[in-house]
Symmetry: C2
Subunit: 170 residues, 2 copies
């Protein structure tokens, strides 16, 4: 009449010191990129785990909610930072980190940087086409010069990003 495992499904799993510190490291890291801490926790744990982990593992090891884990994994997948592990004889899905810097940076640029560059360019076009009309003709020269400058920034950004990716790919 003993109780061998009273709560087998929800038991927290301890991390070792090294793992906790590496996770902390990634939490700080993703903050710089403007991403939520839970993404850093999840990626960090996958990065410093010898074997792939399931959503449920993440919940128990990081003591975060299923919702956070699910959403975090989704974002990490669209960033190309995490992928599903192949061929585990199991119903549930296991996840592995992408550990290739070029791929990680590429995903971040594709998902977080490029969209802003693109929408920025089109906003500028509309600006120059419509809002500039409302300015008194005498003042137009200054505004025009500034908007031209913004456009040149966007253009340069579009040129530099591919070079950056190339530089990182060894």
């Amino acid at each position: 009449m003993d109780i061998p495992s009273p709560e087998p499904k929800t038991e927290a799993i301890a991390l070792n010191l090294l793992q906790r510190q590496v996770i902390e490291y990634f939490v700080d890291g993703v903050r710089v990129l403007g991403l939520p801490p839970s993404l850093g926790e999840i990626y960090g744990l996958l990065f410093i785990s010898p074997a792939p982990l399931s959503l449920d593992d993440l919940v128990r090891m990081l003591e975060i909610s299923k919702g956070s884990a699910s959403q975090g994994l989704r974002t990490l997948k669209t960033l190309g930072a995490v992928r599903e592990a192949e061929g585990n004889g199991d119903r549930r899905t296991y996840y592995q980190p992408a550990v290739d810097l070029k791929r990680l940076v590429g995903g971040f640029i594709r998902e977080q940087v490029r969209p802003h560059l693109e929408s920025g360019k089109s906003k500028l076009q509309r600006l120059q086409e419509t809002a500039l009309q409302d300015v008194a003709p005498g003042e137009r020269e200054f505004y025009n010069e500034r908007i031209d400058r913004l456009e040149s920034w966007m253009k340069r950004g579009g040129q530099v990003l591919p070079m950056l990716q190339k530089l990182l790919g060894q």
Copy 2:
């Protein structure tokens, strides 16, 4: 007995459509960099103003508090994105935007990126020196490999940043 200017000190000053839209543009822009909206407003207004502006101008034109304007200007100055205008026969200080992309990116890297790279490197060293000791010898190989990888990421980052600045400098 008329009242020519009832509240001369605190009156809001209207912006034209173009200015409002450019400011909006910068507010979106700085968000991507993980900086607060007020920085985008302040820099944006300076960028799209024909003449330098004082702290008080910013308060009245953007309808933000003196505190926000003061703190925002300070951050922008340390980022090298704003500088004080020379020789206005006036007691108060007037501010101008830096409009050189290389300088702007350089300031951002220096203030926001480099410090993280640096602290990251030293954290990793401590990790490898102390936390790794607590891991069972058999498991050390995996952890070692991962920390080595992190170190190589940091190293590559340190190499790529100067190249990036060079690429942007025309």
